[in-house]
C-alpha cells in the first residue's frame, strides 16, 4: 500500500514538474510569418486599425533590440506592436480583482527574427491566461483572443502597408493613432 501511495505522489510530482516547465509554452504562442520583420509588424498594425470598431488603437511600436545595440551588443531585430482596446481594458480596470491585469496592458504582439533568417510572431495565449482569473476576466480575455486572431490574418493581395512609428506611452505622445491605453 505504501508503495502505491509513494508511486502516486511521485507521479503527481512528476506531472507538476513537467507542467511547470512547459507552462511558458502554453502561455505564449509562436507563429512563423511569411513576411519580413517590418512588413509583418505593419500588416498587424493595419489589421489592428481595421478593428477600431471594437475599440482597438495602436499604442506603441518599440524595438527592444535597439536598446541592446546602444549598450554595445548584438541581438537579432525585434519589434513590439502595442495595441489596446478600452472596450476590454475598461472592464478589467473597473474591477478591483482584475485591475492587476493592467500589468499586461497594452496588448503586445512581438515580431522577431531568428538564426534561420525567418520572421516569427509571438502572442500571449490570452484566452488561457484569462481563465486563471475567474469567469468575468475569462469572458473579456476570450474576446481579446478572438480579436488577436484577426490581427494575424494576412491578406496577401493587399500591398505592404507602411510601418506606423507610434510613440510608446499612448495618450498625446503619438497623436490620435496612439490614443491607446
Amino acid at each position: 500500500m505504501l508503495k502505491v501511495i509513494i508511486g502516486f505522489i511521485a507521479g503527481i510530482a512528476l506531472l507538476g514538474i513537467v507542467g511547470f516547465n512547459t507552462a511558458g509554452s502554453f502561455m505564449m504562442v509562436e507563429h512563423e510569418s511569411p513576411y519580413g520583420i517590418e512588413e509583418t509588424a505593419a500588416r498587424i498594425q493595419a489589421n489592428i486599425q481595421k478593428m477600431s470598431h471594437r475599440g482597438w488603437t495602436l499604442s506603441g511600436l518599440r524595438d527592444p533590440s535597439k536598446a541592446v545595440a546602444n549598450s554595445g551588443r548584438n541581438v537579432p531585430p525585434v519589434l513590439l506592436v502595442e495595441a489596446c482596446s478600452t472596450d476590454y481594458s475598461g472592464v478589467l480596470l473597473a474591477d478591483d480583482q482584475a485591475r492587476i491585469l493592467s500589468i499586461m496592458m497594452p496588448c503586445t504582439i512581438t515580431i522577431y527574427k531568428k538564426e534561420d533568417g525567418k520572421t516569427y510572431i509571438g502572442t500571449m495565449n490570452s484566452g488561457l491566461m484569462g481563465r486563471l482569473f475567474g469567469k468575468k476576466v475569462a469572458a473579456v480575455m476570450d474576446e481579446v483572443a478572438k480579436d488577436q486572431a484577426e490581427f494575424l490574418k494576412f491578406d496577401d493581395s493587399e500591398p505592404a502597408p507602411p510601418l506606423i512609428r507610434v510613440k510608446p506611452g499612448g495618450g498625446s505622445a503619438g497623436g490620435p493613432e496612439a490614443a491607446g491605453c
Partner: protein, 542 residues
Amino acid sequence: MFTKDQLIAPVLGIAIAMALLVATPAGATAPPAVAEPVAEKSKSTADHSKFEELDINFKSGPEVTQACLKCHTEAAKQIHKTKHWSWEYTNPVTGQKLGKKNVINNFCTSVTSNNSFCSACHIGYGWADDSFDFTSEANVDCIVCHDTTGNYKKLPGLSGHPNYETMEWPPHSGKFRPPTDLKKIAQNVGPTSRKTCGTCHFRGGGGDAVKHGDLDSSLENPGRYLDVHMDSEGLNFSCSRCHVTDEHEVSGSRYAVTAADEKGVLIPGSQDTRNPTTCVACHGNTPHPDKMAKLNDHTRKLACQTCHIPAYARSTLQTKMSWDWSTAGKLDEQGHRIQLKNSAGKVVYDSKKGNFTYDRYVVPEYQWFNGEVKFTLFGDKVSDDEVVKINDFQGDADDPDARIWPVRVFRGKQMYDKGLQTLAVMHTAGEDDAAFWGNYDWDKAMEWGMRAAGSEYSGELGFVSTEMSWPITHMVSPKEDALGCESCHTDGGRLAGIEGIYLPARDRMPLIDTIGFGLALLALIGVLIHGGIRVILAKREG
C-alpha cells in the same frame, strides 16, 4: 490677342523664377540637412583656410584641383595610377580585365554607355564618354575624398561634377540644392574619413546599404555593437586605418582578395609586400588567449570573419537582397513611372529598375574561398538554363590558401543578349531618346548599350538569373557576440553545406552509429532478460 490663360502662364513662370533667385541665397532651399560636424581641432601642421591659393571663388572642381596641385605637385600623377581613377584592373592570376569599367554586375549592370551617371562615383571630373582624357591632372577630383564639410556631392548625370548652379535634386522632388560652395570646401580639406569613403562605398548600387551589405551609412557613426573597430566612441578607426594607403593607392581590393595569410602579423616598417588589409596583419593567426587555444586551431580552416561577423546589415538599414530587371518597364495607365514601397519605406518596384527585395540582420552564406575570383565578363557565353555566376569564388577544402568565408550572395535576373549569348550592356541612364530610364524601350536601350560595348545587338532580349558574391569583412561584432561552437558543430548548422572537412557533431558515419547503438541495445536487452529470469526464479524460491 492673348487669352487670359496664355498670359498667366509666363507671368507665373517669371514670378516663380524670381522667387527662387531671391530665395536661394538666403538659404531657404538649404542643402540636405547635414548637421555641420563639430569641427574637431585638426592635428595637421597646415591650416588650409589660411592659404591664399584657396581664397578664390572657384567656378569648378578642376579649378580647385589646379590649386591643390600647386603644392601637392605629384598627387594627380599618383591618382592616375590607381583603380579609383582608371576603373580598370587586370588580375595577374587569371589575366581577366576587371574593374568597374569592364565588369558587368547584377545591380545597375554596367558602366559602359552610362558614364555620365556612374561617374558620380569616379574620382575625376568629366568622364561622360570615351573621349575622357585620362591624362589630365586637372580632371582629378581631390575633394570627394578630402572634404570635411559634408556638403560636397557629385550628382548622377553631371559626369562626376558637383552642381555649380542651383539644381532641383532629387529630380522632380521640388527640392533645390544651392551651388556647391567650393571655396569653403577647399579651405576645409582634411584626411579621408568613413564619411568621405562612404559617399561612394556606402551607396554603391544606387543607394544607401544597397550593394555590400556590410557597408552602409550606419558606419559613419557606428556603435560598438555594429563594428568594434569603427565604434565612434571607441577605437574609431577610419577606413584607411586598415586600408593602408601608399601614394594614393588604397590597399585591400575585392578583385584580389587575401583569403588567408599564414605569415601572421605584418610588422609596421617591414619590407613585406603582403596585403596589410587583413585581420591577420594586426591580430596574427593565433589571436585567442591560451585558454581558448582550440579556437586558434580553427584559423587553419576558417576566416576570422566567419565567427566574428555573425550577421551583416545589423543596423536598422535594410540591404538589398535581390534585383529582378525582367519586370522593369511597367507603367501606370497614364504612362507614368510606378514606384511601390515596402513597409520600411524602401522601393520594392520601380518602372526603371524592376523588383527588389530587402533584409537586415542577414546571416551570410559560407563557402571555401582562396582569394581568386573568376568573373563572367562581356562576351563570355551564358544561357538561361543555369544560374550565371557574375563572380565565382575559387577554392576548396584541399586548397591550403582557402578558408571558409562568410559571403553575401546577391541574386538577380538581368538582361542578356539571347542571340549572342552574353550578359548585356544596356544603356540605362542618359538624357537621350534611347536610355531605358527615360524611354522604357528595351530594344533601343539594348542596341545603344551593346554598340557602346563594341558589339551588335542581336535583337533577342532575354533575362538570365545571376549570382554575385561579396566577401563579408566589415561590421566586425564585439568578441562577446562572436559565434559559439554550436552554430556550426551541430546538424544543419551554419556550415551544413561546406564540403571536404569532417566537422564533429555535424558529421558521422550512420552505419557505425546504427551498428554501435544496435549492439549496445542488444546487450542491454540481453542482460535485462538474464536478470529478469534470475529475479523471477529467486522470487519463486521465496
